[in-house]
């Protein structure tokens, strides 16, 4: 069992990234019998659904224009938006995955958690207010500000849809596995429930409902995790030293859980993985979209500060929860099968701890929150994908900016339904597949395609339409190809012997390709469009720095 645990955790950095971790444990789940139907959990989840449907009804009355649909009319405050951003980031996966990583390896779990957090200051210092000042609905508004619309919008919509799709599949598969285990529902039923509820939120309530669902879930998750961490610490007189000492005494790896283990193998993988997380965060379309829901640059900054605070707090909690699981779950035979492995796989460490500290009712609560978490994240992703299609492709590329708000809204709703169906179908199709690579691929693409284009178009005067488009697509292609050639796809999915690309994450190479592509195809660009692009920088810069001219941006 030790050897298997070890392999599990060392398998790939990605394995525990987001829901993928849950999917990694899929074989375990397959062997375990479906759990008995858990009525407490279902009851609490039903209460959450009823509450969120009321909110959706209220939001629907406020969602009349495309602006309402995409950005809640720009009427979200910095504090609310910060919670919503934190909600987008605190997926079921980071909760279960990171606490499982700590449960298995101790300190190594902390390395994951830190990687997820460090992108936020960079977004704050370099991107947040410029995004708010330049954009309206999507990050493509910002990237294409002074460029020819068509190529950049097509690129941005592709970047958005690819990221959203990989992220969605990983979430849907994770949802199916998790809910099968926690609620005792069948896999496909769980996937269909997620698909339908998500469509209802987005279709009727747009960004207002999606944001509030995310806020409620963030509050529930933070409260639940706080209670767990508090209960664990209370058992050790609030002395971390006592908790850690007990953990080293009972953990099979002993003292080594207090320092780095097998997680970081080579420095290139470590740096590359860190870059994917740091800069990928600044290129995730469903996160960037949230900067357009607040009324001003000031509120945009406040949102990131709140988001960073909550996410940082949350990761400290997961660290304590992981150690709590070592001492309270790892030592309790009731949570283990005959072979001594954790029931339901290692990702269930936090769930078992919920039962250990709060009994069946609290277990039901945490299960319901985990379900709600997936639902909220999926809704945000779908909304972001829908706005890429309706705002970037339909309204700007096809209708050349002449679409009415009503038509644009109609297209986003049709896209939402289409994405909902695609998500459910892919979720079912990928049930038995190893989707561990998908979330890390989404981050790598965001870091190598979306982020460089956004960064260079806003900050580099000589960037041109051609450079941004070609460089962006090159970054995207490199991230995808290198991921296919890496262990997580080449060996784990395709079943080949050894990986051609030896590192854990492509980001360090694919980001370089993206940036270099933008640079070389811009400076060699001598066409007439390139002159317009460069001439447009002055006005763009003034607006990016001051927000002058952006007053109408929130649709008020």
């Amino acid at each position: 069992m030790m050897a298997r645990n070890f392999k599990h955790c060392g398998a790939a950095l990605m394995a525990l990234l987001a829901v993928s971790g849950i999917a990694q444990a899929a074989p375990d789940l397959g062997q375990a019998a479906q759990q008995a139907t858990n009525w407490t959990a279902i009851g609490m989840f039903a209460a959450f659904v009823v509450l969120t449907l009321f909110i959706t009804k209220w939001a629907a009355a406020k969602t009349r224009s495309a602006s309402d649909f995409y950005t809640a009319g720009g009427g979200i405050t910095g504090f609310q938006n910060g919670l919503a951003i934190a909600g987008d980031f605190m997926s079921a996966a980071s909760f279960l995955g990171i606490s499982a990583a700590v449960f298995l390896d101790g300190f190594d779990g902390l390395i994951y958690a830190i990687g997820f957090l460090v992108g936020w200051p960079v977004i704050t210092f370099l991107m947040a207010e410029r995004l708010r000042n330049l954009g309206r609905f999507t990050f493509a508004d910002v990237a294409s500000y002074r460029f020819a619309q068509k190529p950049i919008r097509v690129f941005a919509a592709s970047g958005t849809l690819v990221v959203v799709l990989f992220y969605l599949i990983a979430q849907m598969v994770g949802a199916g596995q998790l809910i099968k285990l926690l609620f005792g529902l069948e896999y496909w039923i769980a996937v269909v429930i997620v698909g339908i509820l998500m469509m209802v939120y987005v279709l009727f309530g747009g960004m207002t409902a999606t944001t509030w669902v995310q806020i409620i879930k963030a509050v529930l998750l933070l409260s639940g995790a706080s209670f767990m961490a508090f209960s664990v610490l209370a058992q050790y007189d609030f002395s971390p030293e006592k908790l850690f000492r007990t953990a080293t005494e009972v953990h099979a790896k002993g003292d080594s859980i207090m320092g780095p283990g097998s997680f970081i193998k080579d420095p290139i993988s470590a740096i590359s993985f860190g870059m994917a997380l740091m800069f990928g965060t600044a290129g995730l379309p469903h996160i960037l979209m949230r900067f357009f829901t607040v009324p001003s640059a000031k509120e945009a900054r406040k949102s990131v500060l709140w988001a960073t605070t909550w996410i940082g707090y949350f990761y400290i909690l997961t660290f304590i929860i992981g150690f709590g699981a070592i001492v309270l779950v790892g030592t309790n035979p009731a949570f283990k099968d005959a072979a001594g492995a954790l029931l339901g796989g290692n990702n269930m460490a936090a769930v078992h701890l919920a039962k250990a500290v709060g009994g069946d009712v609290f277990l039901g609560f945490i299960s319901a929150v985990a379900f709600a978490t997936i639902l909220a994240v999926v809704a945000g992703l779908t909304l972001s994908g829908a706005s890429a299609v309706s705002h970037d492709l339909y309204a700007t590329v096809i209708k050349k900016g002449n679409a009415t708000s009503a038509n644009e809204l109609k297209v986003s709703k049709i896209t939402t339904i289409a994405l909902g169906f695609i998500a459910v179908l892919l979720g079912i199709a990928f049930e038995k597949q190893n989707v561990a690579f998908m979330v890390s691929l989404a981050f790598a693409i965001a870091a190598s395609a979306n982020f460089p284009v956004l960064f260079m178009s806003v900050l580099w005067k000589d960037c041109t339409t051609r450079g941004a488009t070609v460089g962006g697509f090159l970054g995207l292609a490199t991230a995808v190809i290198l991921t296919i050639l890496s262990k997580s796809v080449w060996v784990d999915v395709l079943g080949h012997g050894a990986a051609i690309f030896p590192y854990a994450s492509p980001a360090i190479f694919s980001m370089a390709v993206g940036f270099f592509g933008i640079w070389i195809f811009s400076i060699t660009d001598k066409g007439p469009r390139a002159q317009i692009d460069r001439a447009g920088f002055e006005a763009q810069e003034v607006r990016a720095e001051t927000g002058i001219g952006a007053s109408g941006a929130s649709g008020h």
Partner: protein, 102 residues
């Protein structure tokens, strides 16, 4: 935005001050964050023994407080930027807006 406003804003000394101080401050903090994070990562990659070394009598190692420090540093540095931006930079921006009447 018409070129006239752009030129008026650009010639405003407040605009130059805003652009320069904010850019310098933003990049300084960005590099500070990078150094702390990649420093931590490289320490983990190259000096595992140090990170796993006990600090004192107890089981606490250097790695854990350092890791928690990176988390707190991330939140603090964001707070420092937002505090300054929401006061100083927004005042400058308002002054620029008032001057060009936008």
């Amino acid at each position: 935005m018409d070129q006239d406003i752009v030129q008026r804003v650009k010639s405003d000394p407040n605009y130059r001050k805003l652009k320069e101080t904010r850019s310098r401050f933003g990049w300084t903090l960005t590099w500070a964050m990078m150094i702390v994070y990649y420093g931590f990562t490289l320490l983990v990659a190259f000096n595992k023994e140090f990170m796993g070394t006990r600090i004192g009598e107890g089981v606490m190692t250097w790695g854990i407080p350092l890791g928690l420090f990176v988390i707190l540093f991330t939140v603090l540095i964001t707070g420092i930027y937002v505090r300054r931006a929401n006061k100083e930079y927004d005042d400058l921006t308002d002054a620029i807006r008032a001057k060009v009447g936008a």
